[in-house]
Each structure stands twice: as C-alpha cells, then as structure tokens.
C-alpha cells in the first residue's frame, strides 16, 4: 500500500467499512508511515470538530411566519393522483365547481331557448322549473361538505384544505353524476 491509496481510503478506514484484509494492510502501512499516521489523526480530529461545531438555526417566529404565509397565500396541497380534481385549473375554479356551474348555465340556456337535449328529443319548456334558478346549483352540490379542522383556520369553504382522500374522490368520471344531480333538482 502506498500513501496515495491510504489517504484515498482514509474515510473508509475511519468508518470501519474495510474488509479485514484491507484493515491489516492499512495498519501495516500506518506502522511504517508517520505522514499517514498524522493525516489519520488530523482527519479524525477534523471530523470530531465538525460534529460538535455550531449549528445554524432558524430565527424565532419562524413557525408563525410560515403558517401565516400558508394562510395568506392560500397554499393548497397538489395531488399527484387525479390532478383534474385539484386546483383552479378549469376557468379558475375547481373542476367540481366548474362543471356544476357549466351545468347550471347550460340549463339556463336550455330552458330559456326551450330545448332540452335528451336522447335527441326536443323537450317543452317547463316554466315552473325556472324558480330553481334562485338557488345556484354549485352551492347545493357542495353544501354539507365538512370543513376539516385547520391550523390555517381558513374562512371559506372554497379555501379549505383538501386532503388527498377528498381529492382522490374527485375524478373526471364523477362529474357526470353531479351534473345529473343539478338536472334532477331543476326538474
């Protein structure tokens, strides 16, 4: 073993990750080389000094600033599953709101024009259903959604945090049922 190899593996030696035969080769070299013995002692001392050296810590009030930022910026979790079900990515709304709103708008147009598309049939206008517009569809769909307790203490339902469980439940295929719910309500 030469000095280069010894110093190249001095950390492995210190961390006792050498095979027994390698340890013997290292020890033999150490016995005959003052330079490497000094390097070994120096590295051990340096590592020990680093281990007990001062750590830099965050300043006081860090948590408050962080939680305040999460609240002020209304930071929401981003789901890796069912991404369609998250965020304001459809017309600036969450998909469930967007689809429900679209359904309500479609129904208004349909009822105003007097054509309700159902299996290619033309439906007659039913004036009595128009009273239903006073009660916006999205609100009805989402009423009863429980707000989860939050360290961020969000004010509104739309700003509440979503758990992955909730987000996974919202899939593109789910919207059909909700649109149907709006239709059922109106009729």
């Amino acid at each position: 073993m030469d000095c280069y190899e010894f110093q190249d593996k001095v950390s492995v030696y210190i961390e006792k990750e050498l095979t027994l035969s390698d340890v013997n080769r290292f020890d033999t070299h150490l016995d005959s080389c003052k330079g490497c013995s000094a390097v070994l002692a120096g590295v051990r001392s340096a590592v020990a000094a680093v281990r007990v050296s001062e750590r830099f810590a965050v300043s006081s009030g860090f948590n408050n600033r962080l939680f305040n930022r999460l609240k002020v910026e209304k930071v929401k979790p981003v789901s890796r599953i069912g991404r369609m079900g998250h965020g304001r990515n459809i017309f600036g709304y969450q998909p469930r709101y967007a689809f429900a709103s679209l359904a309500a708008v479609a129904l208004i147009i349909v009822l105003t024009v007097g054509i309700l598309p159902k299996g290619g049939e033309t439906m007659p206008v039913q004036l009595s259903t128009q009273q239903g517009f006073a009660d916006p569809a999205p609100k009805q769909i989402n009423s009863g959604v429980p707000l989860q307790p939050s360290i961020l203490a969000e004010d509104s339902e739309e700003d509440s945090l979503e758990t992955p469980g909730e987000s996974r439940r919202v899939k593109p295929g789910d919207f059909g049922g909700k649109i149907q719910l709006v239709k059922d309500k109106k009729r």
């Binding site: 593996k9 001095v10 120096g42 340096a46 590592v47």
Partner: protein
C-alpha cells in the same frame, strides 16, 4: 395527536397525508434547524437560507402527496431543500454575471461570508470560528456532502440521492473534504505555534 407519543418521520408524513396538520407542525419543528444548517452552507446568508427553508416547508405542505414511504422522509425533505438552494445559487450567478458584465469585470466565485464570531470558545482544539471558516473554505460540492455526512449523519446512500450524485463520487467527495479540512486545521495549529 396524543401527547408524548414519539412518532417516526414516516408516521408523521403519513398522518399529514391523511389530513393531520399537527403532524405537519411536528415535521416543521423537527427539520427547520437541520435544514437551516444545511441550506446556510449553500447560500451563506441567514435571510436567504431562512427563505429557502420556508419555501421547502411550503412545498412539503403543497406536495405531501408526492412522498412515498419507500424512501426516507429525511432524504425527501433534504432533496427539496437542496434543489431550492441550487436554484437560488443559479439565479444569483446569473445576476452576478449580468452585474459584472455591466461593470466590465470578469466573473469570480462568490465568497460566502462567515459570520464574525467574536466569542472564541474552544471546540476541542480549535475555536468555533476556525472550524466554521475551514468548512466554508471548502468548495460547495465538498462542503454540502461533508455537512450531510458529519453534521446530519446521513448515510452515503441518502446523500447520493439528495445531491443527485453517484455513490462513489459522494464517498470520494466526503473523503477529500475531510482531507482538505484536516490540512486547513493543521495550518491553524502551525500558525498558533508560530504566534506563541
């Protein structure tokens, strides 16, 4: 969460994924100083380091669902912090190049300032400022690997993942960082002897 129950990091992140925000708070408490100590070695100023640590926890909040229990939570959170710190350094480098080119000067590495430690308390055979100066004098890729190993006591495998560098390279970097540190501190000893 009931008090005095010591949850592992993995248990905490899984609880947070299920909506337990107190688990998030506990993770913040566990990791804020460790991340600060690491990120500070990258960027060299407390304010920037703290901003990056805050950004890291915002990402944790936003992307909790991306964590998979196949990896250590520490690896995951340190990777986020490391990437944010690298991005900050790249931005800084661009700003510097643009500033220096306006002045017609050539690019030179940023000196990371070591805070003046007037308190000369001895840590073993060296003063705190001597150790910090020596650490900060290391090149960035040596310094970050050394901090993760000798201060954070992470495994070589974890460090390799966090810094996105092959395992063999990490082992070599840590060894070389220690050898350089040993050289610098040896010099401190020599200087001390000549001044006495």
């Amino acid at each position: 969460m009931p008090e005095k129950v010591q949850y592992s990091d993995k248990e905490l992140i899984l609880r947070f994924q299920q909506g337990d925000e107190l688990a998030y708070v506990e993770l913040v408490n566990r990791y804020r100083d460790r991340l600060m100590n690491f990120v500070y070695r990258y960027v060299g100023t407390r304010q920037e380091a703290e901003d990056i640590v805050q950004d890291t926890f915002v990402k944790l909040f936003q992307k909790k669902d991306y964590y998979r229990p196949i990896s250590e939570f520490s690896t995951w959170i340190f990777t986020i912090a490391s990437n944010l710190a690298k991005t900050e350094l790249r931005k800084r480098k661009r700003r510097k190049v643009s500033y220096l080119s306006q002045l017609g000067m050539e690019e030179k590495d940023f000196d990371i300032p070591v805070e003046d430690t007037t308190d000369e308390e001895m840590v073993g055979e060296f003063t705190e400022s001597q150790i910090q100066n020596a650490i900060q004098s290391l090149q960035l890729h040596f310094r970050t690997a050394l901090i993760l190993r000798d201060i954070e006591e992470l495994s070589y495998e974890e460090i390799s993942k966090i810094l996105d560098v092959p395992l063999g390279t990490i082992k070599s970097r840590i060894n070389r960082a220690r050898l350089q540190l040993q050289e610098m501190l040896k010099q401190v000893h020599k200087d001390r002897r000549t001044t006495i």
